[in-house]
Symmetry: C3
Subunit: 451 residues, 3 copies
């Protein structure tokens, strides 16, 4: 369990944590515990839900920087929207009973709803209701960010049970054009200014797999990396989907040039296998690194080509940026029944799957961080491994154990062109073994690193 090794100073409550955090609270020590704290908050693309969320994350990541970008700020082709906040929302019947109640579940309100107050007939109300006829027990998650609208989401059988009559409707929300879009950013400086980007979205209300799991994995991955020696610098962004990455990109055109590799982290806690969607480049180092780590894990998994739909990789991989950013998840959006419904709750998430995901991301970062090219310093014929203590004694058996094969592959392919990753790919041997064998050969002066 990777996260069990993470200790102070990072795991202590940071003194500079936002005042939104309950004073004196110790944050739970597991990714799942973090998710439990974040789950009840009603997030959207702007507003206090995001702020409260980031404040909690800062307890885990004291160096997390929280950015506020004023509504109305131009961001590439877009404009930072008004800040949305909501206090309450309900539909009452003529008896004054709340028949739909935001306080019971924040999915009940169409996310980013305009405010509304008044009486409506059942038929008028109907146009503002959203439900899932095929999943009649679940509340759907629906949004209307860029087309002003109000509405309620509810279980389909509850919708059908609403009798004719008049209903009093209240959505006590505000859309403040003097507000801001909030996002968090953590930078871990490495030996190099070249960066690895990890991005996850923080705009979904009470949904667990999508995408509290991504935030939890990214948070604990950052805590892990903070304690490691790092070649690359690592940049974590916790942003509202789409408008968040667009806003971040618009403010970081300089930073973007340092990004060598990147991953969007999402949908990592559910019960299914890993799926990797390649970057637009298709054969970027990150695509190859994820493929090798998944291969080495021996876990069942799927690798898919890039497509321009999905999460924020859409923005990072837009043709003007064309960053090498893939998306690592379990079953992708829209392909599991609980997606964007009230069934994507904490019960749907498996704590051990979060640990597994953190471990996988950590291994990918390790591959990226250690992937180098070497030159065989004794390239004419094989060097005599035996006198360097790298070869077994009595020969003649059907030897060829992995360690010795790793040595031989490294010597054979270290021609300045093949990276460790390429050698792991070609040999079929685990990357970690290749990397260990490379270190042994460097120690014997048989390999030299190519800068």
């Amino acid at each position: 369990m990777l996260f069990l090794r993470m200790t102070s100073p990072l795991s202590k409550k940071a003194p500079q944590a936002s005042s939104a955090v309950v004073e004196g609270a110790e944050q739970p020590s597991t990714p799942f515990g973090l998710m439990e704290r974040l789950f009840p908050i009603c997030r959207s693309i702007t507003g206090n839900g995001v702020r409260e969320t980031l404040a909690i994350l800062r307890e885990y990541l004291p160096e997390l920087v929280i950015h506020e970008v004023p509504s109305g700020t131009p961001a590439l082709d877009w404009t930072v929207p008004a800040e949305w906040n909501i206090r309450d929302a309900w539909v009452k019947n003529e008896q004054g009973e709340r028949v739909i109640d935001f306080r019971q579940h924040n999915l009940h309100v169409l996310n980013y709803s305009t405010p509304v107050q008044g009486w409506f007939t059942r038929a008028e109300l109907e146009e503002h209701l959203f439900s899932l006829p095929d999943q009649p027990d679940l509340i759907p998650y629906r949004t209307s960010y860029y087309q002003p609208n109000w509405g309620f989401c509810l279980a389909h059988h509850d919708r059908l049970a609403l009798p004719e009559g008049r209903y009093e409707v209240c959505i006590d929300s505000t859309l403040d054009t003097a507000g801001a879009l909030t996002y968090g950013e953590l930078f871990l400086l490495g030996s190099s200014e070249e960066e690895v980007l990890i991005s996850c979205h923080c705009c979904h209300p009470s949904l667990a797999n999508d995408n509290l799991s991504g935030m939890a994995v990214a948070t604990f991955l950052a805590r892990h990396l903070a304690e490691q020696p790092r070649q690359y610098s690592y940049r974590f962004v916790f942003i509202p989907g789409t408008i968040g990455s667009i806003t971040w990109l618009s403010r970081n055109t300089e930073t973007v040039q340092h990004i060598q590799h990147g991953l969007v982290a999402t949908l990592l806690g559910g019960p299914s296998n890993f799926t990797y969607k390649k970057s637009r480049r298709g054969a970027a180092d990150v695509d190859r690194a994820v493929a090798v780590v998944l291969r080495d894990s021996r876990l069942p998994h799927e690798i898919r080509p890039f497509s321009p739909y999905g999460y924020d990789e859409r923005q990072y991989c837009s043709p003007g940026f064309n960053l090498p950013v893939g998306c690592l998840s379990r079953t992708p959006f829209g392909e599991f029944a609980e997606y964007h419904t009230s069934a994507d709750n904490l019960d749907f998430v498996r704590p051990e799957h979060l640990s597994q995901a953190i471990d996988l991301f950590s291994q990918v970062c390790d591959v990226l961080d250690t992937n180098r090219r070497y030159r065989n310093l004794s390239p004419y014929g094989e060097p005599q491994l035996g006198r360097r203590g790298l070869y077994k004694g009595v020969g003649g058996g059907t030897e060829g154990a992995d360690w010795q094969m790793a040595l031989l592959w490294l010597l054979n392919l270290s021609d300045e062109e093949h990276s460790l990753l390429a050698i792991a790919e070609q040999s079929g041997l685990p990357y970690a073994l290749i990397a260990r064998a490379a270190a042994a050969l460097v120690a014997c002066d048989l390999l030299a690193r190519v800068e």
Copy 2:
């Protein structure tokens, strides 16, 4: 039914049609009707059969130009052969009864037979007979263009039934070294001088699928294209096989430089699935366009690599020219039992398969004609489609309908390098949808055409 939409002026009897046409006759309005008119004619690589055929085609295509190339004219490595005509041919038994009779079926004579008149023993006759032991009821189609010979083709059981005795033989043919090779050519000028070539052979006698079907498809395709706005110019050639394309190439070394894409049309009326044989280049635009159109059609089909045997693509794809010309047919030559026999008659052809083929060719031409590269004018992040009316309102469902995917793929891949065809290939979306979506994005100033 594409061809039903084709009306005047082209579908009216052309006043300049050759005098060989029955005066006042209206040509049948369907490809199959055209085939019915052409079927009885005894064609060869030269002679009046080809002339009569082209005269009929000119009723449908008034701008068809008929070329006469004198026998003896050098044509690349070849020489235009003598003009062959035939009035009658028969074998009579001692009782004077016609036991083989050209008037009953023009396949009975070895095509391009030298003239002969005289008495022969059964044994002498045997050397000049051709039949199919495995298909004993069918008359084979055989030719001897470049090795002077005479002969008769007949059903194998009729051959076996010819008793010993003497036979009077007459082939009333002429081989005129002062004659000509005849071919037809139709040029449809487009916005550009760059051309698409459509080629079919017109040298087979009473055979229907091979290749009246090709002529019928090419004719009605030309009538369709004549009524469309066209980027490319389109050149249709109706030529005798091999020597015809060689002669045409020898006279069009300038024209050839304008050919950007080409297709040989053949064997398009039979009962089977489409088969496409790629050009020698293997990944020419025409190869990719046909593959995408076949994919989009959802019809079962087969795509094969180039091979240097088949129809006139052999000449167009000879290494000196190496034109991007493929061959689009149904089941290829030699792979169906009726091939080059009397069973390749009008009953073997399905009228609706001709319509389907015309439609397919038309779609390929449409792809070639509209396939362009675009530049995303808002390439940094996704442009906001919603405010341009290109995005749905309430989000959060498992959207991703084809139209929106087409927009996103276009924006993502319009980097000046990917053509619409490449985007249709990579996205898996229908080309027609991609093209419509491109037009919508151009209208919103999000894409600009790359010249």
Copy 3:
């Protein structure tokens, strides 16, 4: 049977044969006969066993040059080791009975054992015994070249049957640092100085498939090639494994630059199918030639990618040399039960498999030797084959016989870029047919060789 055609002068006993050969003996005329003579000799990486072996080979290959490289000579990263010779080796029980006896089988001694003489307890002896628990009837073959050690190999049930008690041990071997490493080399000069290398190892004691089969195949292949006109020069090396190729490479850095193609010949007499392991380059001409010859043979076979373990291709394909040398064998080392055991004896080898292997190597050499590029001298359209006597007469059948397809493929692809090998690959036609058709087209002045 290829080898049956091999006659004098080479098959006669060479007068300059080494004096180690029994005077007046005629060498057997078959590869298997050669193996029978070589089998009893106790070879190692150095010593008289190799010398005796090469002396016998020189009876078959009078021009074989035998090289002696002094022990202690630097060889790339290695040093030529001491010369090992052995007279006798045994373990006696307290009754003086030989319970393990080198004279019964030379595999009984750990190859390259240091000398030893003395009394040992059963427990002390145990550490110097090698056996195969899973194959308890077989004596394993084990070596200890680079780590001084002594030991005995024996059947596992014999090992278990050795009672407690004291044993007298004698290994009457010598390790002479003033000795030499011996290898043989045969050079067949061709029209060109460019070379094909055939390499096999000669260091195994009484093992048949590994690798007397390789020596027998190489010897009879050399005899065959010596009688053929040759474009390339051919170099055969008979060397101890690993240290032999390293020594040879260290002494031939100039020669190496002439090597255009190469094959390691090994494991060619067993009962199984051919396996080809590609060179490090992966698509070198030799890799493609072997693939085409195996394809054309219609024998079941397997083609594998390069890996840096195996036989001396490891050295030839080390990154500093990166020679295009593959390894052609039957079932590879370690993948058959008899490998490196006393069961790899003459009974395991099938004489007809040796002939088949010689024939296969011969065909590969033929492909390499004749593989050229041509230019079609009549590249515009197809040339008229008929008037050159290259085309059948009566057309119209479903012709396309291989010969005519070979002509057409050659004409189509002879654009100076495609070699005969490439044309054989692309057409799917046998290389031999392609080569014959090329000669016919050259004779007609339709193709010209590209230098």
